[in-house]
């Protein structure tokens, strides 16, 4: 790599890091204003997220779905698509995984588990294919489409789980996942931990590597990125833009479905209504924070997982209201989105802004 390239990479890293630091500073000012001790609060935040191995495992467990949803948003974005529907794709993926994982008896694990995961991915992919198709063939804007598909997914899953597939008991949930389809948890392997961190996290790491490989080392990835940069230019270069748009949506949706499948098979071991606190939407923030790069997404997911779990600990041990975590997340996203502010503070020495 040339020296300038290295400098560019460092600069790319500086924006999210600067945003995080500024976010924490703003958070500290707010805490001072309401009479809380920011040092104590941030200490609790850090201890809650990384204080011991068990807490660290829980942070990874909270990050896992965000890796998938972050990748889903990032992949679509690389094709110039803003997939707001990851939450809905996550729901249908979870539903498919819960159904196949909970009801297909008599299969050995080596067949049942992959089949269940594939069912989740297929459901998410198909759900996203609809807005992708409408965008490619009819020019319907994917933002509107995917949002609407979210509402359909909520209502559908709400109805199915509360009425049709409901397991006995008060809580609206499906029957437990059969042992032949579960993702093994850390808490089941070692006795020092009761964490629900599952090997879904490793699948997340593998997904990051695969998405990186697909985007930058394959023809499909090249074509997807070309369409993202300029559909017309890509078309002129002999790429079928419409087909790539549908493909990108399907892959994005499959990643969303995988996020749902991991929650159902590893973390909750059933589809419990309300299981997602908005993983799909947090994924948008994670992708933004990670500059739509798989490595960035991984780091962004870890940060958001840490903020969430650390925030819970802060809620337990200090008087700082837990809503502050939401403010912190929002401020960090604000500074990432408004990266011009960071660029003013860390100005670029070279003047050639135009480079991609």
């Amino acid at each position: 790599m040339r020296k300038e390239d290295i400098q560019d990479n460092i600069r790319e890293l500086l924006i999210p890091i600067g945003a995080i630091i500024l976010g924490l500073l703003v958070g500290a000012v707010i805490m001072l204003a309401i009479g809380a001790n920011p040092i104590e609060a941030y200490k609790a935040l850090f201890i809650g997220a990384f204080g011991d191995m068990n807490k660290f495992a829980n942070t990874l467990a909270r990050s896992t779905p965000l890796i998938f949803t972050g990748l889903a948003v990032a992949f679509a974005f690389r094709c110039g698509l803003f997939n707001i529907g990851v939450e809905g794709q996550l729901y249908v993926g979870a539903l498919a995984a819960a159904f196949v994982g909970g009801n297909l008896t008599g299969l050995p694990k080596i067949i049942h588990l992959p089949l269940t995961i594939l069912a989740g991915m297929a459901a998410g992919g198909l759900w996203a294919a609809i807005p992708g198709f409408l965008k490619a063939k009819r020019g319907v804007h994917e933002v509107i489409n995917t949002i609407m598909m979210n509402f359909i997914a909520y209502a559908l899953i709400g109805y199915l789980v509360a009425d049709v597939l409901k397991a006995p008991g008060q809580t609206p949930r499906t029957v437990p996942i059969l042992p032949s389809a579960t993702l093994i948890r850390l808490g089941e392997l070692v006795n020092w931990s009761n964490s629900r961190l599952s090997i879904g996290f490793l699948i997340g790491l593998i997904a990051c590597a695969i998405i990186y490989f697909v985007l930058w080392k394959t023809t499909i990835g090249y074509e997807v990125r070309s369409v993202g940069l300029s559909p017309l230019a890509a078309e002129y270069g002999g790429i079928n833009s419409n087909r790539k748009i549908i493909l990108a949506m399907v892959i994005s949706g499959a990643l969303g479905g995988l996020a749902g499948a991991e929650r159902v098979l590893g973390f909750d071991r059933a589809l419990i209504l309300g299981f997602s606190p908005g993983f799909g939407f947090e994924g948008i923030a994670v992708a933004l924070l990670g500059r739509n790069h798989p490595v960035g997404v991984l780091l962004g997911a870890l940060l958001f997982g840490a903020l969430s779990n650390g925030g819970a600990w802060m809620n337990f041990t200090t008087s700082v209201p837990v809503d502050l975590i939401v403010v912190l997340q929002a401020v960090i996203i604000f500074f990432v989105a408004a990266d011009q502010i960071i660029r003013v503070i860390f100005p670029k020495k070279r003047k050639d802004w135009g480079a991609v």
């Binding site: 703003v26 606190p277 600990w313 008087s319």
Partner: protein
């Protein structure tokens, strides 16, 4: 690396901006303080370590002026009368329920309470991990040696609400708004409908019930906008009294009823003061009593694991005072004379015959002459 002038300028802007933000938020914070006295740091007594109680509320439930606030009210009473200390946690997401219960158990709390049926499985897991800690759960049954399960006969109280609504309605249509569509809330609906049917049979009326639910997740208990929509829809179908069993969602029910000049029946806590002149009565679910009794039992060393059911017979459920404005209602409106008068005016509309009928029904439920259906 950076130009310090611009940085200073920027930080100044940031500071001003955030101060502005927090200044705006100040008012809301003060209001919250009155509802969340639990956040106060309490000095432990010097001579004797007071009883420590931990409570995990339902997600989004604090300040619902209904179910969760009733649990807090019970602990407040215990704090005053028994000198205990408590810590409350309201998890931000469902997955943190288990972690929250575990944290409280790890802190060596004498009693850990889980509020709401969603706590069932997390509480079972944690109770097994800490066999020497005492637990209590509200609205669910956890069959462990160290768990006291506290449930309510919501259908009995709702029967009274249904009877009252059927006796008072002028349009011969009454409404029901449920929170999350689950067996527990359907119990409220079943009792309410049964109460209406009973009045239809015994008084020769022809009242029908329109009902709707706000959703299928826990969020349906904290969704006033949907509550308002559903109530407006009920009113457009002719309902003039709407009963709700929907936690914080009920605030939308009251708002709609008040705007349209119709009436409502509150739930869980005494909500009559929230919209003076609109809320005829509230169906009390004495979560505060259940919580207080359990804390007291731990304090007096008479705590027993197992199931306790609260019904009309042990005053676990029932209607608020139908004749006079109570002290609690007066303090709810901060002793505002005009509002107290409005509330009394509404109560005066309830005739002695209606009051007698409600009393008669209570007795019949107690004696087993009326068996209220649960579904």
């Amino acid at each position: 690396m950076f130009k310090s002038k611009k940085l200073v300028l920027f930080l100044c802007l940031l500071l001003i901006g955030t101060m502005f933000l927090t200044a705006c938020g100040g008012g809301a914070e003060d209001q919250d303080q009155t509802q969340q006295p639990a956040q106060d740091n309490q000095e432990p007594a010097k001579d004797e370590k007071p009883l420590q109680v931990g409570i995990v509320l339902s997600t989004g439930g604090k300040g619902d002026k209904s179910f969760n606030d009733a649990a807090i009210a019970g602990l407040e009473k215990a704090k005053e009368e028994l000198g205990i200390e408590y810590k409350d946690i309201e998890p931000r997401e469902m997955a943190q329920d288990e972690e929250s219960l575990r944290f409280l158990a790890e802190q060596g709390m004498d009693l850990v309470i889980g509020v709401g049926f969603l706590m069932e499985e997390p509480l079972r897991t944690v109770a097994q991990e800490f066999p020497d800690t005492k637990f209590a759960i509200i609205d669910a049954v956890v069959d462990e040696k160290n768990v006291a399960s506290l449930t309510f006969k919501e259908h009995e109280g709702s029967f009274l609400a249904g009877a009252l609504a059927a006796l008072m309605t002028e349009s011969n249509t009454v409404g029901f708004v449920g929170g999350m569509k689950i067996p527990l809330i359907e119990k409220f609906e079943a009792g309410y409908k049964h109460g209406v049917e009973y009045i239809n049979e015994t008084e020769g009326k022809n009242v029908n019930v329109v009902s709707a639910y706000a959703g299928t997740t826990g969020a349906a208990f904290n969704d006033p906008a949907t509550g308002k929509e559903l109530t407006l829809s009920h009113i457009s179908q002719g309902a003039d009294i709407v009963y709700h069993a929907s936690g914080g969602t009920g605030q939308g029910v009251f708002e709609a009823a008040s705007e349209k000049g119709k009436f409502a029946i509150g739930v869980d806590s005494n909500q009559n003061w929230m919209y003076p002149g609109t809320i005829i009565a509230s169906m009390l679910k004495r979560v505060d009593v259940a919580v207080f009794d359990t804390v007291k039992a731990v304090k007096e060393d008479t705590y027993k694991a197992g199931l306790t059911v609260f019904g009309i017979d042990n005053e676990g459920v029932g209607l608020t005072d139908l004749a006079n404005v109570t002290e609690l209602e007066k303090s709810g409106v901060e002793n505002d004379e005009a509002k107290i008068a409005t509330m009394q005016e509404l109560k005066d509309k309830i005739t002695d015959e209606v009051k007698a009928k409600i009393k008669e029904i209570e007795d019949k439920i107690n004696s087993g002459e009326i068996v209220v259906r649960e579904e």
